[in-house]
Symmetry: C2
Subunit: 347 residues, 2 copies
Amino acid sequence: MNSNVIFSNDVPSRLLQAINDLKPGRVFILADNNTAAIARQLGIPSASLITISDGDDHKNLDSLTHIWSELQAGGATRHSLLVCVGGGMVTDIGGFAADTFKRGIPFINVPTSLLGAVDAAVGGKTGFNFHNLKNEIGAFAPAHTVIISSCFLTSLPHTEFLSGFAEMIKHALLSGEPQLSELLNANLASFDPEHMLQLIRASVTVKQQIVSQDPTETGLRKALNLGHTVGHAFESFALSRGKPVPHGYAVAWGLVTELVLSHMRFGFPTTILHQVADFISHNYGPFLITCDDYDSLLQLMTHDKKSLYGEINCTLLSQCGQPHTDVTLSPDEVSAALDIYRDLLHI
Amino acid sequence: MNSNVIFSNDVPSRLLQAINDLKPGRVFILADNNTAAIARQLGIPSASLITISDGDDHKNLDSLTHIWSELQAGGATRHSLLVCVGGGMVTDIGGFAADTFKRGIPFINVPTSLLGAVDAAVGGKTGFNFHNLKNEIGAFAPAHTVIISSCFLTSLPHTEFLSGFAEMIKHALLSGEPQLSELLNANLASFDPEHMLQLIRASVTVKQQIVSQDPTETGLRKALNLGHTVGHAFESFALSRGKPVPHGYAVAWGLVTELVLSHMRFGFPTTILHQVADFISHNYGPFLITCDDYDSLLQLMTHDKKSLYGEINCTLLSQCGQPHTDVTLSPDEVSAALDIYRDLLHI
């Protein structure tokens, strides 16, 4: 389940080397509207470009069918290679398309967003949204190689940068206070690419260490779902209202709510809870909900992939770096935590 | 990649035991029009039945989407279970649906056809047809348990029985002459269920031994493709003409052609080639092609999943039980073999 993960800001040469190592037949590149230009600039010889529409609402069956059709029409065989150039949307759906085309062709991920770099591109989870539920259909399929850089981030919209940064906060919470402090004190307005690559490397390493111990999420890997039970519910809720929010923003708000729950259940320190909540309130603003929305949100949480037997299932922390997976929550507890989330976010 | 394979004609009790062992949350049953009645008679408590249209032309994206939707609407979680009751079409598409729903829920196969029992239900290959190409999209995903019986075969149309029998001939060719002789001398018009279960067990064992050594088909497993490079081309060709043929019939005719190629390349004994060809001619009749069809057939063979770099790739035999995988064939060789196939089938 392990990928070869390369951290480098010299993407074209490292990518070419990875492709040459694989000795593929035909090479296909998947990109979306926004990343097609980057894909072309990578200069992969004799590659066919497949383009899909950008945005999470296009991470759907239509886009998947388009990729399969293009691979088929382009004469892809089991020895062909798909290079996914883009954010998590492209690497998630591209990885799934590759893993299921002729029962599996290899793929390489070149994440171009911070979220893609620190989360989606590494760890083998692929998939797409189905009937408004996030990543409802998917597979565990590691990329052959992932090339992680910070060189595409300077042109990234600030919203997308923040979206990825939320996952880095999550990894830091799972790692320890020093890593968390470094992030909460970082200057998000301007950063040095090499320093950012170091922060990304530290963040990805947290994920890799967890995934390598539990690739198919039967135990420890569930720790990586911190912030995501509530976060996914926020995200699906926003989508169903026709006002989608960036994944990482939903995770940021989910983290605040789940740290509240962590305090309620396991005495997670309020100092750190407030530091994180203030940081997120300041940088991400609030996700506006009222108590009339709680029923819908609770309903969405019971549909989460991690949910068993229709219960609400969560990962919580007793301290930074001390996760408790498979915590079952009552609707009353979650409602109480949502009340406090609204206070912390000044809603 | 191994399933728990049970050979028994007491299906309801063995199935119930297998379900109880898994301790699933909700249980869903997948069947097609023809097997829904059998599925109901199995008496699985509190199971939700999902029905799809029967026939290989419904092993498509629409049926798959229907299964995913029904699982979702029925509140399936990662701890739900899908029981696939039917022929290879049902177990292939059901296994793929289960393996990709929420990145994978367990499934049990209860094959009701001979083809399903000896081929599709065991070995972890799942998938569906896409743009007229067979099993173009799929995954390697073993059933948790497979319950193989002969009790559903007595009501099977003779065509379907023969379709499965062709795969048994293939397994026997990969095993040795004694197993082949027993099959070629069997009375196909009437059989004892327990004796048939023994023949099926011997046949499935050949497949299991091969699959266990190479689950994802990187080497030895390709031996199981004997008959299938030409067979799949026949099948796709028939489908594209709007005159589908049963899978096993296509394999039977493919076996004859590939045994001809085996003789041409590796000196496979003509005595056995003629015995097999006579048996197939007598029981299956001919698949009618003319030399005008060769180009289309060759084109289809280069699109086969086993094909690398657009070449025609085949498994051939030098003797019964002595396969040679990854044999690359020229169009001229295949055309010559198709000429001899037509002679042997008296076309």
